[in-house]
Protein backbone atom coordinates (compact mmCIF):
# COMPACT_ATOMS: atom_id res chain seq x y z
CA UNK A 1 0.00 0.00 0.00
CA UNK A 2 3.00 2.27 0.67
CA UNK A 3 3.32 3.28 -2.94
CA UNK A 4 -0.24 2.52 -3.93
CA UNK A 5 -0.45 5.34 -6.40
CA UNK A 6 1.71 7.88 -8.07
CA UNK A 7 -0.30 9.97 -10.52
CA UNK A 8 1.58 11.06 -13.56
CA UNK A 9 1.30 13.85 -16.06
CA UNK A 10 1.18 12.23 -19.48
CA UNK A 11 0.84 8.67 -20.53
CA UNK A 12 4.02 6.96 -19.48
CA UNK A 13 5.72 10.06 -18.06
CA UNK A 14 6.64 10.92 -14.52
CA UNK A 15 5.33 14.38 -13.63
CA UNK A 16 8.11 16.95 -13.82
CA UNK A 17 9.51 17.75 -10.40
CA UNK A 18 8.29 21.35 -10.68
CA UNK A 19 4.67 20.21 -10.74
CA UNK A 20 5.19 18.06 -7.67
CA UNK A 21 7.25 20.57 -5.75
CA UNK A 22 5.66 21.36 -2.40
CA UNK A 23 2.19 20.56 -3.71
CA UNK A 24 -0.32 18.17 -2.09
CA UNK A 25 1.57 15.52 -0.14
CA UNK A 26 -0.04 12.75 1.90
CA UNK A 27 2.45 11.00 4.14
CA UNK A 28 1.62 7.79 5.99
CA UNK A 29 -1.98 8.95 6.39
CA UNK A 30 -4.22 6.75 8.54
CA UNK A 31 -7.90 7.57 8.90
CA UNK A 32 -10.43 6.05 11.28
CA UNK A 33 -14.07 6.50 12.19
CA UNK A 34 -13.98 5.99 15.92
CA UNK A 35 -12.03 2.74 16.41
CA UNK A 36 -12.70 1.55 12.88
CA UNK A 37 -9.66 2.16 10.68
CA UNK A 38 -10.76 2.94 7.12
CA UNK A 39 -7.51 3.78 5.37
CA UNK A 40 -4.06 2.92 6.65
CA UNK A 41 -0.61 4.28 5.77
CA UNK A 42 -1.58 6.10 2.58
CA UNK A 43 1.25 7.85 0.77
CA UNK A 44 0.71 10.04 -2.27
CA UNK A 45 2.48 13.00 -3.76
CA UNK A 46 -0.10 14.64 -5.98
CA UNK A 47 1.12 17.12 -8.59
CA UNK A 48 -0.54 20.16 -10.04
CA UNK A 49 -2.21 20.17 -13.43
CA UNK A 50 -3.73 16.73 -12.98
CA UNK A 51 -7.25 15.48 -12.73
CA UNK A 52 -6.88 12.70 -10.20
CA UNK A 53 -9.74 10.22 -9.97
CA UNK A 54 -10.04 8.25 -6.76
CA UNK A 55 -11.58 4.97 -7.80
CA UNK A 56 -12.68 1.90 -5.90
CA UNK A 57 -15.68 -0.10 -4.78
CA UNK A 58 -18.23 1.29 -2.34
CA UNK A 59 -16.79 1.34 1.14
CA UNK A 60 -13.19 1.42 -0.07
CA UNK A 61 -12.73 4.90 1.38
CA UNK A 62 -12.92 7.21 -1.64
CA UNK A 63 -15.05 9.84 0.10
CA UNK A 64 -13.14 9.28 3.31
CA UNK A 65 -9.85 10.14 1.66
CA UNK A 66 -11.33 13.32 0.16
CA UNK A 67 -12.87 14.29 3.48
CA UNK A 68 -9.57 13.77 5.25
CA UNK A 69 -7.87 16.09 2.78
CA UNK A 70 -10.72 18.56 3.25
CA UNK A 71 -10.14 18.44 6.99
CA UNK A 72 -13.53 16.93 7.81
CA UNK A 73 -12.06 13.84 9.48
CA UNK A 74 -9.09 14.11 11.83
CA UNK A 75 -6.12 11.95 10.97
CA UNK A 76 -5.16 9.14 13.33
CA UNK A 77 -1.65 9.16 11.94
CA UNK A 78 0.53 10.77 9.30
CA UNK A 79 0.07 14.23 7.85
CA UNK A 80 -1.18 16.09 4.82
CA UNK A 81 0.73 19.09 3.57
CA UNK A 82 -0.15 21.62 0.91
CA UNK A 83 2.61 23.81 -0.51
CA UNK A 84 4.80 22.67 2.36
CA UNK A 85 2.38 23.81 5.04
CA UNK A 86 0.09 21.69 7.20
CA UNK A 87 -3.14 21.69 5.23
CA UNK A 88 -5.11 22.84 8.28
CA UNK A 89 -3.36 26.18 8.01
CA UNK A 90 -4.27 26.79 4.35
CA UNK A 91 -7.93 25.69 4.41
CA UNK A 92 -9.13 28.62 2.37
CA UNK A 93 -7.05 27.44 -0.58
CA UNK A 94 -9.00 24.17 -0.65
CA UNK A 95 -12.50 24.03 -2.15
CA UNK A 96 -14.67 21.03 -1.37
CA UNK A 97 -17.81 20.07 -3.29
CA UNK A 98 -19.73 17.64 -1.09
CA UNK A 99 -21.76 14.66 -2.17
CA UNK A 100 -25.35 15.42 -3.03
CA UNK A 101 -26.66 13.65 0.09
CA UNK A 102 -24.64 15.84 2.45
CA UNK A 103 -26.60 19.00 1.68
CA UNK A 104 -30.05 20.16 2.84
CA UNK A 105 -31.53 21.12 -0.52
CA UNK A 106 -34.82 22.39 0.94
CA UNK A 107 -32.89 25.09 2.78
CA UNK A 108 -34.22 28.63 2.22
CA UNK A 109 -31.24 30.16 0.48
CA UNK A 110 -30.74 31.59 -3.01
CA UNK A 111 -28.22 30.42 -5.60
CA UNK A 112 -26.39 33.76 -5.34
CA UNK A 113 -26.19 33.34 -1.54
CA UNK A 114 -24.71 29.86 -1.93
CA UNK A 115 -22.01 31.04 -4.31
CA UNK A 116 -21.28 34.05 -2.09
CA UNK A 117 -20.47 31.59 0.70
CA UNK A 118 -17.32 30.77 -1.27
CA UNK A 119 -16.15 34.33 -0.64
CA UNK A 120 -16.47 34.24 3.17
CA UNK A 121 -13.12 32.62 3.91
CA UNK A 122 -11.37 35.01 1.56
CA UNK A 123 -12.76 38.23 2.90
CA UNK A 124 -12.97 37.30 6.59
CA UNK A 125 -15.93 35.64 8.26
CA UNK A 126 -17.57 38.76 9.61
CA UNK A 127 -17.05 41.22 6.77
CA UNK A 128 -19.84 42.22 4.43
CA UNK A 129 -19.53 41.48 0.72
CA UNK A 130 -17.66 43.98 -1.44
CA UNK A 131 -18.27 44.96 -5.06
CA UNK A 132 -15.31 42.73 -5.94
CA UNK A 133 -16.98 39.76 -4.20
CA UNK A 134 -20.21 40.33 -6.10
CA UNK A 135 -18.26 40.61 -9.34
CA UNK A 136 -16.48 37.30 -8.67
CA UNK A 137 -19.74 35.60 -7.72
CA UNK A 138 -21.41 36.89 -10.89
CA UNK A 139 -18.52 35.67 -13.02
CA UNK A 140 -18.58 32.23 -11.37
CA UNK A 141 -22.32 31.89 -12.01
CA UNK A 142 -21.91 32.97 -15.64
CA UNK A 143 -19.01 30.58 -16.07
CA UNK A 144 -21.27 27.69 -15.07
CA UNK A 145 -24.07 29.01 -17.30
CA UNK A 146 -26.45 29.74 -14.43
CA UNK A 147 -26.06 33.52 -14.26
CA UNK A 148 -29.79 33.97 -14.75
CA UNK A 149 -30.57 31.78 -11.73
CA UNK A 150 -28.76 33.90 -9.12
CA UNK A 151 -31.98 35.00 -7.42
CA UNK A 152 -33.63 31.57 -7.57
CA UNK A 153 -34.01 29.50 -4.41
CA UNK A 154 -31.65 26.51 -4.38
CA UNK A 155 -34.61 24.18 -3.73
CA UNK A 156 -36.12 25.11 -7.10
CA UNK A 157 -33.17 24.00 -9.20
CA UNK A 158 -32.68 20.71 -10.99
CA UNK A 159 -30.01 18.32 -9.72
CA UNK A 160 -27.58 19.39 -12.43
CA UNK A 161 -28.15 23.10 -11.71
CA UNK A 162 -27.59 22.49 -8.01
CA UNK A 163 -24.29 20.80 -8.76
CA UNK A 164 -23.31 23.76 -10.95
CA UNK A 165 -24.18 26.17 -8.14
CA UNK A 166 -21.83 24.28 -5.81
CA UNK A 167 -19.05 24.22 -8.37
CA UNK A 168 -19.60 27.96 -8.89
CA UNK A 169 -19.14 28.34 -5.14
CA UNK A 170 -15.84 26.46 -5.41
CA UNK A 171 -14.78 28.79 -8.25
CA UNK A 172 -15.69 31.87 -6.24
CA UNK A 173 -13.39 30.61 -3.52
CA UNK A 174 -10.46 30.91 -5.98
CA UNK A 175 -8.81 27.76 -4.62
CA UNK A 176 -5.60 25.97 -5.52
CA UNK A 177 -7.01 22.57 -4.65
CA UNK A 178 -10.47 21.40 -5.70
CA UNK A 179 -11.96 18.28 -4.13
CA UNK A 180 -15.15 16.86 -5.64
CA UNK A 181 -17.10 13.98 -4.13
CA UNK A 182 -18.89 12.12 -6.93
CA UNK A 183 -19.30 15.24 -9.10
CA UNK A 184 -20.81 13.30 -12.01
CA UNK A 185 -23.43 11.39 -10.01
CA UNK A 186 -27.01 12.07 -11.02
CA UNK A 187 -26.52 15.00 -13.38
CA UNK A 188 -27.59 15.82 -16.93
CA UNK A 189 -25.34 15.42 -19.96
CA UNK A 190 -24.86 19.16 -20.37
CA UNK A 191 -23.63 19.61 -16.80
CA UNK A 192 -21.44 16.56 -17.24
CA UNK A 193 -19.78 18.10 -20.29
CA UNK A 194 -19.43 21.45 -18.57
CA UNK A 195 -17.59 19.80 -15.68
CA UNK A 196 -15.25 18.05 -18.09
CA UNK A 197 -14.48 21.42 -19.71
CA UNK A 198 -13.79 22.87 -16.27
CA UNK A 199 -11.41 19.99 -15.57
CA UNK A 200 -9.41 21.05 -18.63
CA UNK A 201 -9.41 24.68 -17.51
CA UNK A 202 -8.25 23.72 -14.04
CA UNK A 203 -5.55 21.50 -15.46
CA UNK A 204 -4.26 24.36 -17.59
CA UNK A 205 -4.43 26.75 -14.63
CA UNK A 206 -2.20 24.40 -12.64
CA UNK A 207 -4.80 23.43 -10.03
CA UNK A 208 -4.76 20.25 -8.00
CA UNK A 209 -8.02 18.42 -8.66
CA UNK A 210 -9.20 15.26 -6.94
CA UNK A 211 -12.52 13.58 -7.51
CA UNK A 212 -14.04 10.55 -5.90
CA UNK A 213 -15.75 8.74 -8.73
CA UNK A 214 -16.76 5.51 -10.37
CA UNK A 215 -15.68 6.62 -13.81
CA UNK A 216 -12.13 7.27 -14.85
CA UNK A 217 -11.61 10.55 -16.73
CA UNK A 218 -9.84 10.06 -20.04
CA UNK A 219 -6.36 11.54 -19.90
CA UNK A 220 -6.46 11.94 -16.13
CA UNK A 221 -4.64 9.95 -13.52
CA UNK A 222 -6.08 7.71 -10.87
CA UNK A 223 -5.71 6.36 -7.39
CA UNK A 224 -7.33 2.96 -7.00
CA UNK A 225 -8.48 1.97 -3.53
CA UNK A 226 -9.64 -1.41 -2.38
CA UNK A 227 -11.13 -2.87 0.76
CA UNK A 228 -8.32 -4.54 2.63
CA UNK A 229 -10.57 -7.35 3.77
CA UNK A 230 -11.61 -8.15 0.23
CA UNK A 231 -8.75 -9.08 -2.08
CA UNK A 232 -9.12 -7.59 -5.52
CA UNK A 233 -9.81 -10.30 -8.06
CA UNK A 234 -7.26 -10.77 -10.79
CA UNK A 235 -9.86 -9.75 -13.37
CA UNK A 236 -10.64 -6.48 -11.54
CA UNK A 237 -6.99 -5.66 -11.18
CA UNK A 238 -6.38 -6.33 -14.86
CA UNK A 239 -9.29 -4.07 -15.68
CA UNK A 240 -7.93 -1.18 -13.60
CA UNK A 241 -4.42 -1.76 -14.84
CA UNK A 242 -5.65 -1.64 -18.42
CA UNK A 243 -7.41 1.67 -17.78
CA UNK A 244 -4.44 3.11 -15.99
CA UNK A 245 -2.00 1.38 -18.33
CA UNK A 246 -2.04 4.20 -20.79
CA UNK A 247 0.08 6.07 -18.32
CA UNK A 248 1.52 3.37 -16.05
CA UNK A 249 -0.09 4.91 -13.04
CA UNK A 250 -0.95 1.92 -10.93
CA UNK A 251 1.86 0.26 -9.09
CA UNK A 252 -0.49 -1.08 -6.50
CA UNK A 253 0.62 -4.55 -5.67
Amino acid sequence: MADAAAPTLRPGDEAPAALHARCLVLQDVTIAYGRHVVLAHVDADIPRSQIVSIIGPNGAGKSTLLKAIAGLIPLVGGDIRLFDEPIGRVRRRVAYVPQREDVDWAFPVSVGDVVMMGRYPRRGWLRGSTAEDRQIVGDALDHLGIGDLAGRQISRLSGGQQRRAFIARALAQQPDVILLDEPMAGIDAETHDRILELFDEWREAGKVVLQATHTHIHGGSMIVLRRTAEPVSAADFEHHAAEAGEHHASRGH
Binding site: Y33, G34, K67, A70, G71, L72, R91, R92, V94, A95, Y96, V97, P98, D102, V103, D104, F107, P108, V109, S110, D113, V114, M117, G118, Y120, P121, W125, L126, Q153, S155, R156, F166, R169, Q173, L179
Partner: protein, 308 residues
Protein backbone atom coordinates in the same frame (compact mmCIF):
# COMPACT_ATOMS: atom_id res chain seq x y z
CA UNK B 1 -65.84 45.38 24.88
CA UNK B 2 -63.40 48.21 24.27
CA UNK B 3 -62.76 48.32 28.00
CA UNK B 4 -61.53 44.78 27.92
CA UNK B 5 -58.86 45.92 25.50
CA UNK B 6 -57.89 49.25 27.03
CA UNK B 7 -58.46 48.76 30.76
CA UNK B 8 -55.52 46.48 31.46
CA UNK B 9 -53.14 49.18 30.25
CA UNK B 10 -53.66 51.15 33.44
CA UNK B 11 -52.20 48.22 35.35
CA UNK B 12 -48.37 48.36 35.44
CA UNK B 13 -48.15 44.59 35.93
CA UNK B 14 -50.00 44.09 32.63
CA UNK B 15 -47.79 46.58 30.82
CA UNK B 16 -44.66 44.86 32.11
CA UNK B 17 -45.99 41.44 31.14
CA UNK B 18 -46.92 42.73 27.70
CA UNK B 19 -43.48 44.24 27.07
CA UNK B 20 -41.84 41.07 28.38
CA UNK B 21 -43.79 38.77 26.09
CA UNK B 22 -43.32 40.89 22.98
CA UNK B 23 -39.56 41.02 23.56
CA UNK B 24 -39.42 37.30 24.21
CA UNK B 25 -41.44 36.45 21.11
CA UNK B 26 -39.13 38.46 18.86
CA UNK B 27 -35.95 36.89 20.22
CA UNK B 28 -37.51 33.41 20.22
CA UNK B 29 -38.61 33.84 16.60
CA UNK B 30 -35.09 34.69 15.46
CA UNK B 31 -33.36 31.90 17.38
CA UNK B 32 -36.14 29.43 16.59
CA UNK B 33 -35.58 30.03 12.88
CA UNK B 34 -31.93 29.04 13.20
CA UNK B 35 -32.77 26.02 15.37
CA UNK B 36 -35.38 24.76 12.93
CA UNK B 37 -33.06 25.23 9.96
CA UNK B 38 -30.15 23.52 11.70
CA UNK B 39 -32.52 20.68 12.54
CA UNK B 40 -31.76 20.66 16.26
CA UNK B 41 -35.20 21.26 17.72
CA UNK B 42 -34.83 18.32 20.08
CA UNK B 43 -31.49 19.66 21.29
CA UNK B 44 -33.11 23.01 22.00
CA UNK B 45 -35.84 21.23 23.92
CA UNK B 46 -33.21 19.41 25.96
CA UNK B 47 -31.47 22.66 26.86
CA UNK B 48 -34.79 24.18 27.88
CA UNK B 49 -35.71 21.32 30.19
CA UNK B 50 -32.26 21.10 31.68
CA UNK B 51 -32.64 24.59 33.09
CA UNK B 52 -35.15 23.23 35.59
CA UNK B 53 -32.67 22.19 38.34
CA UNK B 54 -30.95 25.58 38.16
CA UNK B 55 -34.23 27.37 38.59
CA UNK B 56 -35.33 25.14 41.45
CA UNK B 57 -32.03 25.64 43.24
CA UNK B 58 -32.23 29.41 42.80
CA UNK B 59 -35.77 29.28 44.11
CA UNK B 60 -34.71 27.39 47.23
CA UNK B 61 -31.70 29.53 48.06
CA UNK B 62 -33.75 32.63 47.30
CA UNK B 63 -31.76 34.00 44.38
CA UNK B 64 -33.40 35.56 41.30
CA UNK B 65 -34.72 32.60 39.29
CA UNK B 66 -33.30 34.02 36.07
CA UNK B 67 -29.80 33.80 37.52
CA UNK B 68 -30.32 30.13 38.38
CA UNK B 69 -31.68 29.54 34.88
CA UNK B 70 -28.73 31.37 33.37
CA UNK B 71 -26.13 29.28 35.19
CA UNK B 72 -27.90 25.99 34.41
CA UNK B 73 -28.59 26.99 30.80
CA UNK B 74 -25.01 27.90 29.98
CA UNK B 75 -23.71 24.78 31.70
CA UNK B 76 -26.11 22.48 29.83
CA UNK B 77 -25.48 24.11 26.49
CA UNK B 78 -21.77 23.54 26.96
CA UNK B 79 -22.28 19.90 28.02
CA UNK B 80 -24.68 19.22 25.14
CA UNK B 81 -22.35 20.91 22.69
CA UNK B 82 -19.37 18.83 23.77
CA UNK B 83 -21.42 15.62 23.86
CA UNK B 84 -22.79 16.09 20.37
CA UNK B 85 -19.51 17.42 18.96
CA UNK B 86 -17.98 14.05 19.81
CA UNK B 87 -18.49 12.08 16.59
CA UNK B 88 -22.24 11.48 16.81
CA UNK B 89 -23.83 14.85 16.27
CA UNK B 90 -27.54 14.92 17.03
CA UNK B 91 -27.40 11.68 18.92
CA UNK B 92 -30.91 11.86 20.28
CA UNK B 93 -30.37 9.05 22.74
CA UNK B 94 -27.57 10.86 24.56
CA UNK B 95 -29.64 14.03 24.57
CA UNK B 96 -32.64 12.19 25.97
CA UNK B 97 -30.48 10.76 28.74
CA UNK B 98 -29.01 14.11 29.75
CA UNK B 99 -32.13 16.20 29.76
CA UNK B 100 -34.27 13.69 31.60
CA UNK B 101 -31.51 13.37 34.18
CA UNK B 102 -31.37 17.15 34.60
CA UNK B 103 -35.12 17.30 35.03
CA UNK B 104 -34.98 14.46 37.57
CA UNK B 105 -32.31 16.36 39.47
CA UNK B 106 -34.67 19.32 39.69
CA UNK B 107 -37.47 17.10 40.98
CA UNK B 108 -35.20 15.51 43.60
CA UNK B 109 -33.93 18.89 44.81
CA UNK B 110 -37.50 20.05 45.07
CA UNK B 111 -38.99 16.93 46.65
CA UNK B 112 -38.15 17.54 50.31
CA UNK B 113 -38.97 21.23 50.24
CA UNK B 114 -42.16 22.93 51.29
CA UNK B 115 -43.26 24.57 48.05
CA UNK B 116 -46.40 26.39 47.29
CA UNK B 117 -48.14 25.10 44.21
CA UNK B 118 -48.55 28.51 42.58
CA UNK B 119 -44.85 29.13 42.69
CA UNK B 120 -44.09 25.73 41.21
CA UNK B 121 -46.59 26.42 38.46
CA UNK B 122 -44.81 29.67 37.75
CA UNK B 123 -41.54 27.79 37.34
CA UNK B 124 -43.00 25.19 35.04
CA UNK B 125 -45.48 27.19 33.01
CA UNK B 126 -44.52 30.84 33.40
CA UNK B 127 -46.18 33.74 35.15
CA UNK B 128 -45.59 36.93 33.18
CA UNK B 129 -48.10 38.98 35.16
CA UNK B 130 -45.83 38.67 38.19
CA UNK B 131 -42.80 40.02 36.30
CA UNK B 132 -40.88 42.65 38.25
CA UNK B 133 -39.10 45.61 36.65
CA UNK B 134 -35.82 43.80 37.35
CA UNK B 135 -37.09 40.77 35.38
CA UNK B 136 -37.96 43.03 32.49
CA UNK B 137 -34.56 44.70 32.50
CA UNK B 138 -32.84 41.31 32.47
CA UNK B 139 -35.07 40.11 29.63
CA UNK B 140 -34.29 43.19 27.55
CA UNK B 141 -30.55 43.04 28.25
CA UNK B 142 -30.04 39.33 27.57
CA UNK B 143 -32.55 39.27 24.72
CA UNK B 144 -30.87 42.26 23.08
CA UNK B 145 -27.48 40.57 23.36
CA UNK B 146 -28.82 37.34 21.87
CA UNK B 147 -30.49 39.15 18.98
CA UNK B 148 -27.36 41.17 18.26
CA UNK B 149 -25.18 38.04 18.25
CA UNK B 150 -27.49 36.27 15.84
CA UNK B 151 -27.80 39.23 13.51
CA UNK B 152 -24.04 39.72 13.37
CA UNK B 153 -23.28 36.04 12.77
CA UNK B 154 -26.35 35.17 10.69
CA UNK B 155 -24.43 34.35 7.52
CA UNK B 156 -22.18 31.93 9.35
CA UNK B 157 -25.07 30.21 11.13
CA UNK B 158 -26.85 29.86 7.79
CA UNK B 159 -23.78 28.44 6.08
CA UNK B 160 -23.17 25.91 8.86
CA UNK B 161 -26.81 24.82 8.78
CA UNK B 162 -27.06 24.58 5.01
CA UNK B 163 -23.89 22.65 4.21
CA UNK B 164 -21.97 21.71 7.36
CA UNK B 165 -19.25 19.72 5.63
CA UNK B 166 -18.62 22.34 2.94
CA UNK B 167 -18.50 25.00 5.64
CA UNK B 168 -16.01 23.03 7.72
CA UNK B 169 -13.86 22.35 4.68
CA UNK B 170 -13.61 26.11 4.15
CA UNK B 171 -12.41 26.47 7.72
CA UNK B 172 -15.65 27.68 9.32
CA UNK B 173 -15.68 26.58 12.98
CA UNK B 174 -18.95 24.67 12.70
CA UNK B 175 -18.74 22.91 16.07
CA UNK B 176 -18.05 26.19 17.84
CA UNK B 177 -21.02 27.74 16.01
CA UNK B 178 -23.25 24.84 17.09
CA UNK B 179 -22.22 25.33 20.71
CA UNK B 180 -22.82 29.06 20.35
CA UNK B 181 -26.26 28.36 18.92
CA UNK B 182 -27.06 26.15 21.92
CA UNK B 183 -25.75 28.87 24.17
CA UNK B 184 -28.00 31.55 22.69
CA UNK B 185 -30.81 28.99 22.82
CA UNK B 186 -30.15 28.59 26.54
CA UNK B 187 -30.12 32.37 26.95
CA UNK B 188 -33.38 32.66 25.02
CA UNK B 189 -34.92 30.03 27.26
CA UNK B 190 -33.77 32.08 30.25
CA UNK B 191 -35.26 35.19 28.72
CA UNK B 192 -38.54 33.46 27.91
CA UNK B 193 -38.68 31.73 31.26
CA UNK B 194 -40.82 34.29 33.08
CA UNK B 195 -43.22 34.58 30.15
CA UNK B 196 -43.99 30.92 29.38
CA UNK B 197 -42.00 28.88 31.87
CA UNK B 198 -39.59 26.03 31.68
CA UNK B 199 -41.67 23.39 29.93
CA UNK B 200 -43.49 25.51 27.39
CA UNK B 201 -40.68 27.79 26.32
CA UNK B 202 -39.39 25.65 23.48
CA UNK B 203 -42.68 25.82 21.63
CA UNK B 204 -42.43 29.60 21.54
CA UNK B 205 -39.13 29.12 19.70
CA UNK B 206 -39.80 26.21 17.42
CA UNK B 207 -43.51 26.30 16.62
CA UNK B 208 -43.61 29.84 15.17
CA UNK B 209 -40.50 29.19 13.07
CA UNK B 210 -41.86 25.87 11.83
CA UNK B 211 -45.15 27.61 11.01
CA UNK B 212 -43.41 30.37 9.07
CA UNK B 213 -41.51 27.75 7.08
CA UNK B 214 -44.80 26.78 5.40
CA UNK B 215 -45.13 30.25 3.92
CA UNK B 216 -41.72 31.24 2.70
CA UNK B 217 -38.51 29.98 1.13
CA UNK B 218 -36.56 32.98 2.33
CA UNK B 219 -34.71 33.44 5.55
CA UNK B 220 -35.52 36.99 6.65
CA UNK B 221 -39.27 36.70 5.94
CA UNK B 222 -39.21 33.40 7.84
CA UNK B 223 -37.61 34.93 10.94
CA UNK B 224 -39.85 38.00 10.77
CA UNK B 225 -42.98 35.95 10.40
CA UNK B 226 -41.93 33.64 13.25
CA UNK B 227 -41.47 36.65 15.51
CA UNK B 228 -44.86 38.05 14.45
CA UNK B 229 -46.67 34.77 15.15
CA UNK B 230 -45.05 34.69 18.57
CA UNK B 231 -46.07 38.28 19.29
CA UNK B 232 -49.68 37.69 18.26
CA UNK B 233 -49.86 34.50 20.32
CA UNK B 234 -48.29 36.39 23.22
CA UNK B 235 -50.86 39.15 23.03
CA UNK B 236 -53.70 36.62 22.92
CA UNK B 237 -52.19 34.81 25.89
CA UNK B 238 -51.70 37.86 28.02
CA UNK B 239 -55.20 39.25 27.43
CA UNK B 240 -56.80 35.89 28.10
CA UNK B 241 -54.68 35.40 31.19
CA UNK B 242 -55.40 38.85 32.52
CA UNK B 243 -59.15 38.72 31.95
CA UNK B 244 -59.87 35.13 32.92
CA UNK B 245 -56.93 34.10 35.12
CA UNK B 246 -55.99 31.32 32.69
CA UNK B 247 -52.34 30.22 32.39
CA UNK B 248 -50.75 32.76 30.05
CA UNK B 249 -47.99 30.41 28.94
CA UNK B 250 -50.47 27.65 28.21
CA UNK B 251 -52.65 29.90 26.05
CA UNK B 252 -49.61 31.21 24.17
CA UNK B 253 -48.43 27.72 23.32
CA UNK B 254 -51.92 26.62 22.27
CA UNK B 255 -52.21 29.69 20.05
CA UNK B 256 -48.88 29.00 18.30
CA UNK B 257 -49.83 25.35 17.91
CA UNK B 258 -53.15 26.36 16.37
CA UNK B 259 -51.26 28.58 13.93
CA UNK B 260 -48.98 25.67 13.09
CA UNK B 261 -51.81 23.29 12.26
CA UNK B 262 -53.66 25.98 10.34
CA UNK B 263 -50.52 26.54 8.27
CA UNK B 264 -50.01 22.82 7.76
CA UNK B 265 -53.54 22.61 6.38
CA UNK B 266 -54.08 25.90 4.62
CA UNK B 267 -50.75 27.56 3.77
CA UNK B 268 -51.17 28.81 0.17
CA UNK B 269 -48.44 26.79 -1.46
CA UNK B 270 -47.46 24.00 0.94
CA UNK B 271 -50.66 23.45 2.95
CA UNK B 272 -52.20 19.99 2.67
CA UNK B 273 -55.73 21.20 1.93
CA UNK B 274 -54.63 23.99 -0.40
CA UNK B 275 -52.60 21.51 -2.42
CA UNK B 276 -55.53 19.09 -2.65
CA UNK B 277 -57.93 21.83 -3.66
CA UNK B 278 -55.61 23.13 -6.34
CA UNK B 279 -55.17 19.65 -7.77
CA UNK B 280 -58.78 18.53 -7.49
CA UNK B 281 -60.49 21.56 -8.96
CA UNK B 282 -58.21 21.78 -11.95
CA UNK B 283 -56.83 25.11 -10.79
CA UNK B 284 -53.38 23.97 -11.87
CA UNK B 285 -54.66 23.20 -15.38
CA UNK B 286 -56.53 26.48 -15.69
CA UNK B 287 -53.62 28.60 -14.47
CA UNK B 288 -51.48 27.21 -17.30
CA UNK B 289 -48.20 27.31 -15.47
CA UNK B 290 -45.00 27.45 -17.47
CA UNK B 291 -44.71 23.81 -18.44
CA UNK B 292 -41.58 22.16 -17.13
CA UNK B 293 -41.56 19.27 -19.55
CA UNK B 294 -43.42 17.82 -22.50
CA UNK B 295 -42.88 14.95 -24.91
CA UNK B 296 -41.19 16.08 -28.09
CA UNK B 297 -40.21 12.72 -29.50
CA UNK B 298 -41.21 9.11 -28.98
CA UNK B 299 -40.21 5.79 -30.45
CA UNK B 300 -42.71 4.34 -32.94
CA UNK B 301 -43.73 1.73 -30.35
CA UNK B 302 -45.09 4.49 -28.14
CA UNK B 303 -48.42 5.38 -29.68
CA UNK B 304 -50.77 8.18 -28.85
CA UNK B 305 -53.94 7.02 -27.00
CA UNK B 306 -56.90 6.04 -29.21
CA UNK B 307 -54.64 5.51 -32.16
CA UNK B 308 -55.51 2.47 -34.30
Amino acid sequence: MLHAVTDPWSDPAFVRAFADIVAVAIVAGAIGTLIVLRGIGFLGDAVAHSIFPGVVTAFLIDVNLLIGALVAGVATAAIMGLLTANARVRDNTAIGVVFTAAFALGVVILSNQPVNVDQLEGILFGDPLSAQPSDLIMTMAIGGGVLLTVVLLRRLFVMAAFDPSGARAMGLPVVALDILLLLVTALTVVVAFKAVGNILVISLMITPAATARFFTDRLLPMATMAALIGVVAGVIGIYTGYQTDTSVGGVIVLATTLAFFAAWLFAPEHGVVSLRMAQRHGALLRSEPEAVAEIILASPEIRAPHEG
